[in-house]
Amino acid sequence: MPSLKDIKTQINSVGSTKKITSAMKMVAASKLRRSQEKAEAARPYSSRLEEMLASLASSAASGEGIIKLLTGTSNDQNYIVVPVSADRGLCGGFNSSINRETFKLVKSLESDGKNVQLIPVGKKSRDFFNRVMKDQIVESFVDLNISNSGYESALKVSNKLQELYFDSKFDKCIIVFNKFKSAISQEVTQQQLIPLDVSDSSEEENVDTTATKAIYDYEPDEETILKDLLPKNVSIQIFKVLLESDAGEHGARMAAMDNATRNAGEMIDSLTLKYNRTRQAFITKELIEIISGAESV
């Protein structure tokens, strides 16, 4: 039977853990609000860009150079997969679900006979893939700090990707990230980044865009604009993904810490009960000893 003092120390240590987790929850909650605002602020730009692109994309013929971002390399042998995780842990299944999903994706692509390379973003996925698929990592990005440095850090990733693409190092790029659904739920999502997948976002508007396309004047001309627009779109997509993932991370951490705080509370309750019972048992035992002592005299 543990002594009273042991239980008391245990209660205290769980109590201080509870304090830490509830503080972390508060921090995550306020960070979540900020990164949600950021994600919200970035939305007008990316939606406008998508609209412009949708109305231009239909006019693109297959060709060389930058247009390849849209039309593809007419090959699909070499893949690059970009898992986006957090830099820090203690956020529930946030990082492990990304790693698991990416791992599955890579394995299934490989079983189809494709070559797959990885560009992990975030410490947690870098560390994971460093252990399991070290030779397939081309480059990794950590400490991007999206909420402070913003668009610049998305540019770093996007520039690297485009450099590799135009060196014909890969044909398709898929990004795996946690899509922010609500403060407590994230959804692991795969998105094809290169070549651009215009079909899903603009299918309904297709009728609409062909109608507007005929009326627009282009300055200097459609092709030049498209050539400017496509690389920018890749950066913006990455920026959006990084922001969503950042918001998701804080949401996941908030939920995880909320759980931890609740569990600590339950543990303290049960320990307190145990403490009181043990104390009672000691008192009873002592009373019995005194009484039996008195009887024998």
Partner: protein, 132 residues
Amino acid sequence: MATISFDLVSPENLIFNDEVGMIIVPGKDGDFGVLPGHSKVMSSLRPGRVMVYGEDKNLLKAFFVSGGFAEVNPEKCIVLAESVDEINSIEKSLIEKEIQKLEEQETDISKEQLNIAKAKIDALEYNYYEKI
């Protein structure tokens, strides 16, 4: 007098969103003014000044954009810019220092940044379009 709605958007946020009288945009092939009822145009931009005027053609705001796109239709003008600074908030000495630093490098990226920084200085010094 009619107005046209004008949005200036950077990747990080929506910078300007209001009804205005006229906007001058630095198109790739030259500056163009946008008045209410402008025909539909899509243009890419060069580094330069975006000037925003009120209904009676008084200058409301002047921005520097480092490039981007403009989409114009009769009711609305949208400028998507990579980076945006309000002209008044640009510190000339800081830009000059940046230019010096960039001139020492010889990469493609630094050349591009150098062009933008030089355009920024030009934008500070030019004063046409301020009264029309």
